[in-house]
């Protein structure tokens, strides 16, 4: 039962409920109809409407006393023939749109029962239009006509209804309120079975519709400004304006209201209006018209003038005009309450304004637009595209009609290719939900079937990778006019720099920049850029660990793109493929970056990442972009033969972590998998050998390769939650990156292998794969286990055994950090880890509470492979494996 029934009698409520019941049943039954069914029905009512166009026009004129018989008949024909022409071949049942390239399908769903308010100005044509829309979309409608137009509307609805039912439409599909009242409207607008209100009418009806709390389309008044610009085709413009403004005696709300004319053509235009049958009012006549037509209290046109002939209006106001006068033209000098005729006038009275510049003309048009016409319609006559563009930007109107009549132009389909309608959406400016010409798509719920699509993926690596002993000799193939070697002092002392220099063609001018062996600082990078500029370098050779290579990457970036804003480029992102910032592309300088790593872990020689320390602000800046990737990597194990044992272990664990995390990443692909798996195999075999026998050339060589291969994988698949934890912990307690990774690694494997609390959205994967990928790794390593769960446990155990062989701390407490201190740091650690971008490609989305538990597990040490101290971060294991 609807609210607001107080002012209705029981009988009236029963009557309204009956209408609703029938309409609701009809709408439900209508859902079974096919496209062919509705198209047959639509064609039948269109033909009936065309057949009765003149009859209905006459009824409308006789009842409303508004408008022109001939024009009303044309409106009825436009409402049927033109609208039918638009809808006839459009699908409105089932699948209505298919976009295979986007994996999208649109499916129509009817709305149900619609309550539709009809205007007095265009009563029968609006009925015809709305009936076609409703049948085409399988909806039922209860019509609420204007009280002074309900008989003609009732007859139009009867014709439509009987024709539709005769051709198979559901009984009750259309109904017309008998003797409609505002309380009837209010009752129906709030009725729970009414699913949509479509109100075409005055501001009161539109406001009531929007106030009902129901989805509503409300289309109300306008105040159409016209800019008649000096380049316009004047003959065409004046005829168009007269045609439009006199059509049905100006009752279409899109018709022209105030014409703003450039001074240069003003007198000529006015003469043409007069020549074509308009009466040009003098100042006194304008004042009389304004007083007579516009109610000074409301500021609106008095109802008695709506839709009347120009001669009748003139007579009523005491003006003497020629009998053939079709339009009253009233010059005004401003817009607003002091200029009554600047408001909407739904009659053949138009105001004109002389503008002395385009700026003034646009200002006045904006003023008219804002005086009750926001969102509706505006017209511009000009042959200057720039003027049309400026007009369309200045004016807020759903329809900006260029070089054609406003009223007929706005209806669509006659003078332009807009959608034919009898309902103009006015957007938020008019308090409406749409600026569209209301059409069949507004009578539908459109469902979208979105098929799963695969994101475009890639595998990007440097152009050239040279490896094995003495690979550095390949430098001789790279010609350069000026080369800068970036390295650190220690490597210079160790003789590595000389080995590089000897491999560079002797004619190449070479300079050396030694920077501290630590994360690169902004200052060092800027010094490097200055050196590059000074020597006009076209080649950079980065010889060192990850820090040196990272520094060289950023030097190159700033050298080739001085405008690069490192702060902006370091903006966080979720997916590198979709991030907001764009790295600059080198425009003027082409510089080759050759990376020669002297450790076997970071893989910086092939990665698109670089970390910069901003000491002034006390923070790290991480840059990621494939433009940072070195052009050439030289993976020569001779440079790692003297790595100390602890560095061998730490960097080797970093390499293994890269591979393990890339292997289960949500961005993993067959391309990254092949690299990750190979790196895991190499690391398990050769890392302990390189650690225990540092002079073992094969072990060193293979671990050097493993680091690079793992980096090829994580450059494209990224890392995971292990790195997020290690970054946070390492920074807080000043623990090396590899060592910090080692503390987390067994726990993270167990965590990722268990059933996630939250899954990470991963469109490129079918189901959760992490545990199965770990099992695959176990198979690759020849570990024991019959089930996936067993294999995961074997992998964890193998990792733990490897870490033990590398003699790295296995728990945080072993580092001498007290439990109290650690617990105090935990909230911040978890926060920093959660802010770290590394986990965003982790297969399992970590909750902050889970990060806390992972840290606690790492504090206690010894992972899930040890049954006595097993850490059960994941709530349960997979039962399906």
């Amino acid at each position: 039962m609807a609210e607001n029934a107080q002012s209705l009698s029981d009988d009236r409520i029963q009557y309204l409920e009956g209408l609703v019941r029938r309409g609701r049943t009809a709408a439900a039954v209508f859902t079974q109809y096919t496209q062919q069914d509705v198209d047959r029905l639509v064609k039948a009512i269109v033909l009936a409407g065309l057949d009765q166009a003149q009859y209905l026009a006459r009824l409308a004129i006789e009842e409303t006393r508004l408008g022109v018989l001939e024009d009303k008949a044309i409106k009825n024909m436009v409402a049927t023939e033109f609208v039918y022409n638009y809808v006839r071949d459009r699908r409105s049942v089932g699948v209505i749109g298919e976009f295979p390239e986007r994996g999208l399908v649109e499916v129509a769903e009817p709305i149900g029962l619609i309550f539709s308010i009809l205007p007095i100005t265009n009563p029968t044509s609006t009925v015809l239009f709305k009936c076609i829309m409703a049948l085409k979309t399988r909806n039922a409608v209860i019509f609420g006509p204007h009280p002074k137009a309900w008989q003609c509307c009732r007859e139009a609805i009867r014709i439509m209804y009987e024709t539709a039912v005769k051709h198979g439409a559901p009984e009750g599909v259309f109904a017309c309120l008998e003797s409609p009242t505002i309380p009837d409207n209010n009752y129906l607008m709030r009725h729970k079975e009414v699913k949509l209100i479509d109100a075409t009418g005055g501001p009161g009806a539109v406001k009531a519709a929007y106030s009902s709390g129901k989805p509503a389309m409300g289309v109300g008044p306008g105040n159409t400004p016209v800019y008649l610009e000096k380049t316009a085709h004047l003959d065409m413009a004046v005829v168009d304006i007269i045609t439009s403004k006199t059509f049905d005696n100006g009752t279409i709300c899109a018709s022209e209201q105030t014409v703003v004319i450039d001074d240069e053509i003003y007198d000529q235009a006015i003469r043409k209006f007069a020549d074509l049958g308009a009466h040009i009012c003098n100042a006194k006549e304008t004042a009389i018209l304004g007083q007579a037509l516009v109610d000074p209290d409301t500021g609106f046109l008095r109802p008695m003038a709506i839709g009347q002939k120009a001669t009748d209006i003139a007579r009523a106001c005491g003006l003497r005009v020629k009998p053939e006068t079709k339009l009253l033209v009233a010059p005004i000098e401003g817009v607003g309450r002091d200029h009554p005729l600047s408001v909407e006038k739904l009659c053949p009275v138009i105001s004109v304004y002389r503008a002395h510049s385009a700026e003034e003309a646009l200002r006045v048009c904006v003023d008219v637009n804002h005086l009750g016409g926001l969102g509706h319609t505006a017209v511009v006559f000009s042959r200057d595209d720039e003027i049309i563009r400026r007009f369309s930007e200045a004016i807020n109107a759903g329809r900006i009609i260029a070089n054609s009549p406003g009223s007929i132009g706005a209806l669509g389909g006659v003078y332009n290719d807009m959608v034919p309608t009898f309902s103009f959406g006015c957007g938020t400016g008019g308090g409406n939900s749409t600026t569209d010409n209301v059409n069949l798509y507004h009578y539908l719920n459109i469902k979208r079937v979105a098929r799963r699509t695969q994101a475009h993926m890639w595998f990007r690596v440097p152009n050239q990778i040279y490896f094995n002993f003495n690979a550095v000799e390949n430098l001789r193939d790279f010609r350069s006019h000026s080369t800068l070697i970036v390295t650190n002092p220690l490597l210079e002392q160790m003789g590595h720099l000389d080995k590089v220099r000897h491999s560079i063609p002797p004619e190449t001018p070479v300079r050396v920049l030694a920077i501290p062996d630590a994360e690169p600082e902004v200052k060092a990078v800027l010094e490097g850029v200055e050196a590059l500029k000074m020597h006009a370098a076209d080649q950079i050779i980065a010889l060192g660990g990850g820090s040196v290579i990272d520094a060289a990457k950023i030097m190159k970036l700033k050298y080739v793109s001085p405008e690069a804003d490192l702060d902006e480029l370091a903006a966080p992102f979720l997916d590198i493929r979709k991030r907001a910032v764009e790295f600059p592309s080198a425009k003027n300088r082409q510089v080759r970056l050759i990376a020669i790593p002297t450790t076997s872990g970071t893989g910086s020689e092939v990665t698109p990442f670089a970390v910069l320390l901003d000491k002034e602000r006390g923070r790290k800046v991480t840059l990621a972009d494939y433009s940072l990737s070195p052009d050439v990597a030289i993976v020569d194990p001779q440079f790692v033969m003297t790595m100390p044992k602890n560095l061998t272990a730490d960097t080797g664990i970093d390499c293994l972590t890269h591979a393990l995390e890339a292997g289960v990443s949500i961005h993993a692909s067959p391309y990254t998998d092949s690299n990750a798996m190979q790196a895991i195999r190499l690391a398990f075999k050769y890392l302990p050998m390189a650690y225990e026998n540092p002079r073992d050339e094969e072990a060193r060589s293979m671990m050097h390769n493993a680091a690079c291969i793992a980096a090829l994988a994580f450059s494209n698949a990224s890392v995971g939650v292990n790195h997020a934890l290690a970054h946070a912990f390492g920074a807080r307690f000043r623990v090396g990156h590899g060592r910090a990774n080692a503390l987390m690694l067994p726990h993270v494997i167990a965590y990722n292998a268990s059933v996630p609390t939250k899954f990470m959205p991963s469109p490129n994967q079918r189901g959760y794969l992490a545990h199965k990928k770990y099992a695959l790794m176990a198979d690759l390593l020849g570990l024991a286990g019959d089930t996936v769960a067993d294999k995961v446990k074997s992998l964890v155990l193998a990792v733990e055994q490897l870490l033990d062989r590398l003699e790295v701390p296995r728990s945080i407490w072993e580092l001498g950090i007290s439990e109290e201190e650690f617990e105090r740091a935990l909230p911040e650690l978890a926060k920093v880890a959660f802010d770290d971008p590394s986990w965003r490609s982790n297969p399992r989305m970590p909750l902050v509470s889970e990060l806390v538990e992972l840290f606690r597990a790492a504090y206690r040490g010894r992972g899930p492979a040890n049954a006595d101290t097993a850490v059960q971060v994941g709530a349960k294991e997979w039962s399906c494996v």
Partner: protein, 82 residues
């Protein structure tokens, strides 16, 4: 099925429901579509069944017809059997 025959069947079912005896089973397996009159007859049948606490089962209701019943809030008032 002819709508008129279907309505006759529903009227028969309504009469049985009104008598308050046992359960009523209506076979819809050959009904591809219902019209407004049939929908009204089903509403009446549901009302009578509720009034006399008679269980009414509809057999083999097609998807499109089920949706009509759903929109008319009749699905919770009938039993559906395959």
């Amino acid at each position: 099925m002819e709508p008129q025959r279907l309505i006759e069947g529903l009227d028969l079912a309504a009469a049985r429901a009104a008598s308050g005896t046992g359960e009523v089973l209506v076979d819809f397996s050959v009904v591809g579509r219902i019209d407004s009159k049939t929908a009204a007859a089903l509403e009446q049948l549901a009302a009578l069944a509720g009034e006399h606490s008679v269980k009414v089962a509809l057999r083999g209701v097609h998807g499109d017809v089920y949706k009509v019943l759903k929109l008319l809030k009749l699905t919770e008032r009938f039993w559906f059997v395959s």
